[in-house]
Assembly symmetry: C2
Homo-oligomer: 212 residues x 2
Amino acid sequence: MALSPQDREAERHRIARMVLDLVKQRGTEIPYQTAVAESGLTRARFEQLFEDYDDLFDAIAQIWLRRHIEVMEEVLGADLPPPRKMYEFFRRRFVISRERFRDDPEYFTIVCEMGAANFEKVRSYVDLADHYLCELIVQAQADGYFAGLSIDEALSLINQMVSPYTLPESLIYLGEKLTEDKLARIVDTVFIGLSGETGGAARGVNALRVAG
Amino acid sequence: MALSPQDREAERHRIARMVLDLVKQRGTEIPYQTAVAESGLTRARFEQLFEDYDDLFDAIAQIWLRRHIEVMEEVLGADLPPPRKMYEFFRRRFVISRERFRDDPEYFTIVCEMGAANFEKVRSYVDLADHYLCELIVQAQADGYFAGLSIDEALSLINQMVSPYTLPESLIYLGEKLTEDKLARIVDTVFIGLSGETGGAARGVNALRVAG
């Protein structure tokens, strides 16, 4: 029996949720065959829902990243000065990840490993986050920040400087070394210091040395 | 027959070098037992050189990180303005890692995985790099940079902002997105923007909004 698109979506969500719960319970990634066996569905019905593991992983990633996407969109719609807005853009996602990490570090680590192993599947989430960050950069540039930098340059530099707060693995390695206070300092440092003119002193292009 | 301390050191180096070559040839970590078998030494002699895998890994890490430590020490002794000096401190190590990555990405990836799995053994290298970076921070603060920050605060913030250029795994994920030009911009951004006063705008503490 064919499912309606809505029913199919709801059923995909239900099964992906179940698989994610199994990952948590068993402390290990759940292969496609195990998911079929545990789902209580016939193989034919399961394959109707998920073509292959990639497809199942997609549905799992959607559940895991739903809150992250929601808070990015909340921040984007907020009326805040650019530095505050960018801080919130990173902070809210960081807080969600940190809560999950503290709640169950093992489970969090496995999900991170799953994400790393299926990186191409998480790509669309990364692209969406980049797309939103570009909007914030444009807004900031309208206020005079990041002068002389193309949007892509600013995007790449900001992503690199803030990466410990966006890469989930950082929580595993750095833990309590990551704080909201430090993130705020980093965001302000970026707003104060980043422009098309930076790079000269570090590379030794500037002959003049400014006295401190 | 007991070895003299110098002979023992030379022999440890020779065997660790051989094991690292095996890692490269076979594309996989070499367990202790395999290293014993491949070394051509008796088990007793091998155990005299390396108590256990940790001890063997130590000797391997020393070989892998020797150049990194040398360039840090070269930079520390150089007479350069603080931004330039800090840039070189990060750039030279980054260039060594990038060369090795480009030369043999698979080998590089395995060595990264070995480092991650034996993180406590790489700890002393990380501590040494932190120690040297503290010296650079003190020199920069004498010139008026990073005002109002403790050395530890500055250390942690700089390490976080520059992390894509120090974490070897970044090369695997970011590859050509990491460039010396971007590193120079980041270092200058840090020197221009980082002080004890940052963080207020991002956190929304400042009521006044500076027009761009």
